[in-house]
Symmetry: D3
């Protein structure tokens, strides 16, 4: 344990603190804790034994890391952010094992936020200051409020997920979205006194013939759906009533589209990480899928998806 | 003009009154009128010149048939029912030609109803007493109120259009409806805290692979849609939001289904006369069609449809 | 058949027309009809055979009385009012028997109204001009519209059914309503930040201890309930949500009360003819009854009720 | 009474029938009636004594004109249209005097409509077929339904009262409407995250400095307001919440504007007959007036307004 | 003060710390504080002078106990939970006396929650992590959110307060709920086109004749009512409109029932601690009581109730 | 640095701490910090370098003051209140400069609240315990919740901002409000079956003739508008639909009025600091202004306004 710095008023019983890490006044690190390199453990932080902290992590004043908490690399934890490890605490009553909380690489935990036990904060996610996180946070999601809900996603730095306006030109092949081969399609509408009719012909306006359709509805406002990619299956999505937000991510750039009319569709080819959220209470999302259901076709871990996109070999 | 009976107090200048027809007291038939056989023209009825009345028609007291009115066979016209032939009447101002009103075979016009100029009352339709008919009435439809709207369809006498209850068993091939090869399908639903998902696989739960879909929405409550049959094209209908009524008619029997959930579909094979109405204000009807759009595939006249079903040769 | 007057242009084959009755030009009375005394049968009226008309009845121009119609004494029938006797008319198709329509003594039928077959228009009722009456009309009720609905009751001439305002003083014994021993009670309300509480003690604020309660709810807006009197049973009514109108009638005077708050009750002693209507869609009416249910305790005919109140002997 | 034609089956005891008028079969005109020139009294019409009919009036079959009815020149009365003269008819009970009903010059009464007693049908108004008219109808108004409500106004033949679309260009002096000096003004709007602000400066965007403002609100949907002109006072109207229709009429042409946003105003100079109707339930109409209130400034009779516009001298 | 443990970096000026209690690094206990036995006072906790802490209390890191705070036995206080003692703090302005905050025995205070001054946290209550408690919390209640509201009650460990489903069989004597003699009753409903009627006869379906009724309505959504037991008086509750939750507690087991239809009642015999909450905004709760109002019959302290149930002698 | 007190366990590297200030155990003040006189820096507080603290400031336990935070005189900061200085924190990623947060004189920051970076807490404002402050807080405003919104204003101690009840007497000159020359006006209302009309004559009921009007609408519920004073221009405000709160402040006393009807206006003479908030979603505020728009007439800083009212000379 060379190269780590300890303030004279700091307490540290652990011998597992990485090089370049600094531990400041009135902090207290118990012997079982493992802390990576180049971390900053500020005044008054308390770290229990069954805790793992990665490299380049910042833990601001007034934070405690309890047994069961894992912090991956490059995480920021704001001042007075509060972790927990018992969902139903009673004095002198201990659970058989503590709930495990994981903060994935690159995430940030806002000042004075509260993290309920057992949740996972996804890669790159941003927990707003003062948020009370009661369920897991998707990768790159931004959550705020009490209880915390997803209000957006961290935008692609280059292009940025600016929602498309009403001025999208209707084009037969759709408008490329700059995320993999995804495209936005405005479909033909016929309107007369008896109502409106929107129509699409498969293999013409729509880029494939469907093997399956499904309808998603009665979605609670704060629910987040999708959160997977397909290896082979393409999808075409239309929000036929109400509205929802669709986030497309090819592992390199991200873009968010609001679907809010029966005549607007999004084509999502394979190998796009898709997320749907911000469902209005009356939303009905119609999805056409190019293949029948096949559980093998799903990639359900964003970290795994990133690895595949990056060309990393997958474990057998 | 033998065999017709004229009450001594009746006036009849027409020589075109069929055998068995009776004309009662204080009625007045002008010379140009043509009246078929076995009709009953009651007290005080007035018939202008440019009027054609079919066979076996009943015209009750207090009715006038104005220039431009055509009454086909077997029609019943209730007492004080009132026809019109000028949509914007002004005294001493005459339209270039009178609007033409047609009452198709077998229809009934309720007592004291009002028929606006230029409408067509479809075959077998029933206009309720006191109704004010401001637009054409589909075949077999029942209309009531001011203005009149479709509230139902005259039921098949044998089976009767009793709507199906909630107790329909979900069966892979659907439940036969007794109208041509039409069937009702309850599709699989998966429900979890993030909402509901209803799914159908084409060629499995759904009897055909679609070449086209369309969405119908923003339908005014009183609008009636469909009202045609297809020669080749099959359809599968799901009301994915709100509700609507679907009427199926194979020319022999009729049945009405209420579609009110995303997981319920109706399969409508070719040569079914289909009508949709009673749309809720938030209804969205999703239709899969087995063929691309082809205007030649449509039969748009119910009378023509009946003839084809009956095996009558069509005019070239 | 002396004393009846017949216009020279009138047709009358019946010999059953009472003294003082006049039949005007172009009217036509068939042989089976029976018409009472001092009636006025105006121009163009048509009376079929199976028809009974009481005394002092006025039938204005353009009216037909079909087989199956009974008109009691003192009825007024406005011009072009239209009766019917077949609920589903088809030309040349006759029902086994015609629906019977009865207009009770003293009722009035508005001009150009339409009376569907088989209904009963109650004693003293008033059908508004242009109304389309699709169901029976309670005694003394006023109905208007298409379809017709009860909008009020013919007021007592002396006191008049003026609804009570908000200025009713809360009094322990209630405020006498001038209809039998009925009274209006404003009950104690306690209000605090947790809500409101209205309370009544039986035998104190409420004049009897209940043997039974019942709740009436989900009442369609146009429904009329009650319409009976009790021989022994007293009732106390509170509209605990929404609002409804309560009509009290002791056979001599009538009064209408709007119940629209949980703290307002009406005490209705025995031998009051009670009617409730104008239910708001969210109305819940709570009724306390002084006796257990006993079908013998009900008087369900208003005419019978009037006779009992008048002291007439009832048939065994 | 030369030149009038009477069908052999007509009855006419009046000697007050104008030249060129025809009375057809089974009609019956009582001795006190006065009928103008070139009228057409069709089959079965009944005209009582206390009735005045103007010139060039058409009365179709099945109509009765009761004591108290006045029909001005050029009126059309459709078949089976029904008048009344007693608001609460009871057999053998007669009102002290009959309610007086007036149909103003050039109006049309639709087929089978019902006219309640005592109403006035305004100059040029159009009562739709089957309507039940329960209150007076403004000049040129179109009414339909049961009860009848104003749904529009008879359009100016030349320009026609086509509502203006959203494409009105914002111009400092407003857009001339072609009705007197009236103009439409789209005012400046500033919008930011704290809401919207619409502003007008008097003497700049608005053509006068106000002496008075008034707010109109809680207007029942079927109410019609305004219906007067000012001799001196100019007005500027903005519907600041909800929407309403504004009809402007300079006695020569008419135009209707829908006001539906806080930034749209109508300038109405003196000597315009203004009518407001089709208020949404939440409408608030803000009016600036150039003068203080002065009852002498009002012209409340449309017929008087027409005479002033036409330059006719007014009675002292 | 033997047996208590003090970390070398802890400050403790109080001599009133119980045996087995541990005080950890950077904690600071002022001289006036009294702390019971076997407590755990974690890193960085600050305890002022006018503070009483019971036995077996856990106080996690980052908590301050200010003057005026009382913590009873067996309480858990999560990390960074924050107490207050001045409702309107201004620097250098001190209230005459500090508001007193009491946390009753066995309660838990969630991590990072905020407790406004002067509230009482009831016996066994559970304050959720991140909650902001602005008013007192009932015994055993669970509160979450900002501001905190009651979302449930800590369930009985044995049976658990699982809400009853729709499958409750209607039985004359009701269904026993396993909490004292409480029972659930589904009452008879008669339904016809005029609406629904639910009825109960006292002494038959309902187990007692009422001396009193009361109606509770206009209850704010977050209000909690009841919270008392009766010594003698029985109650029967029906939510006649809307819905509410009823919690029954006999001191040994608890159960929660949702009342949401006029035909469902709960019988609550004496010596049941009853709580009603989760009122819908349109809820109306009807309660029949077996006795007239008697303030002596109420037990308003849950702790007192528990003692009576346990057979402890009450103070005179 | 004489006269300041430092607990033996406190760390303080700054030499810029004022007389009378106390720094308690486990606090840590870095060398660049400047702290005024008579402050109280409690246990465990951390003060970074680029921080300025005024006189008589209280900082309770568990608070950190980061680089970029300025605290003016007489501020209270409750325990565990948490400041921030990076709106989008990532570990090891630093903004070019830290956001600056200012807490104005006399404000209080509630316990465990969270202050987002870059906001300004206005003079005398009160941030509620547990609030999450995401935008600047107006002078004297009270904010609570997550996110925090204005729920009221700190009342004038003498008169107190008690909202006026419905019992305000209508008086020609309005009712003086005790804030400068402001007055409340109840205007004349005429009500008839066609709706309501509220009217005001300029120079009579309204104290000035307007040069300009403006309409404010579509205001988000939590928006606060106004927040300025005029040197010359007077205003008259009417909330013509919905409701809003109007706060008037002459620098000496404050009063809040709820405007909730078209007939109630507030006259606000020059040199009143006016704030409008608590807009209902359907609110439309009509404002008459005595002068045309002039940007020089606005005072937009409350602190500047207070100085002008106090007669202090303004900087050139």
């Amino acid at each position: 344990m060379n190269d780590a710095y300890f303030h004279p008023q700091a307490l540290c019983a652990s011998t597992n603190v990485g090089a370049g890490t600094r531990v400041w006044a009135f902090a207290n690190v118990l012997p079982g804790a493992r802390i990576g390199r180049e971390c900053n453990i500020c005044d008054g932080v308390f770290v229990e034994n069954d805790v793992v902290v990665g490299d380049r992590v910042t833990v601001k004043c007034g934070v405690q890391l309890w047994d069961g908490v894992t912090i991956e690399d490059d995480v920021f934890i704001g001042p007075n952010a509060t972790f927990t490890n018992d969902p139903f605490p009673r004095s002198k009553v201990y659970p058989e094992s503590f709930a495990r909380t994981v903060v994935r690489a690159g995430a940030s935990i806002g000042a004075n936020s509260t993290i309920l036990p057992g949740v996972e904060i996804g890669t790159g996610a941003m927990v707003g200051a003062g948020a009370v996180v009661t369920r897991s946070v998707p990768p790159n999601a931004i959550v705020v409020g009490n209880p915390a809900r997803v209000t957006g996603y961290v935008a692609d730095k280059a292009d940025a997920g600016v929602p498309l306006g009403d001025d999208v030109v209707r084009s037969p092949g759709g408008m490329a979205l700059g995320v993999g081969g995804a495209s936005l399609h405005d479909l033909h509408v016929a309107k007369d006194p008896r109502g409106e009719l929107s129509v699409g012909e498969f293999g013409r306006e729509l880029p494939f013939a469907p093997a399956r359709y499904f309808l998603v509805y009665n979605v609670p406002g704060r629910a987040v759906r999708g959160e997977h990619a397909h290896k082979e299956c393409a999808q075409f999505m239309i929000c036929v009533h109400g509205s929802c937000g669709v986030l497309l991510d090819d592992g390199r750039s991200r873009r968010e589209i609001t679907l809010d009319r029966p005549s607007r569709g999004v084509y999502m080819p394979p190998m796009i990480w898709g997320t749907q959220y911000r469902y209005s209470s009356d939303a009905v999302l119609l999805v056409f899928a190019s293949h029948h259901y096949d559980t093998e076709d799903y990639i359900r871990s964003y970290d795994e998806f990133l690895k595949i996109v990056a060309g990393e070999p997958m474990p057998a």
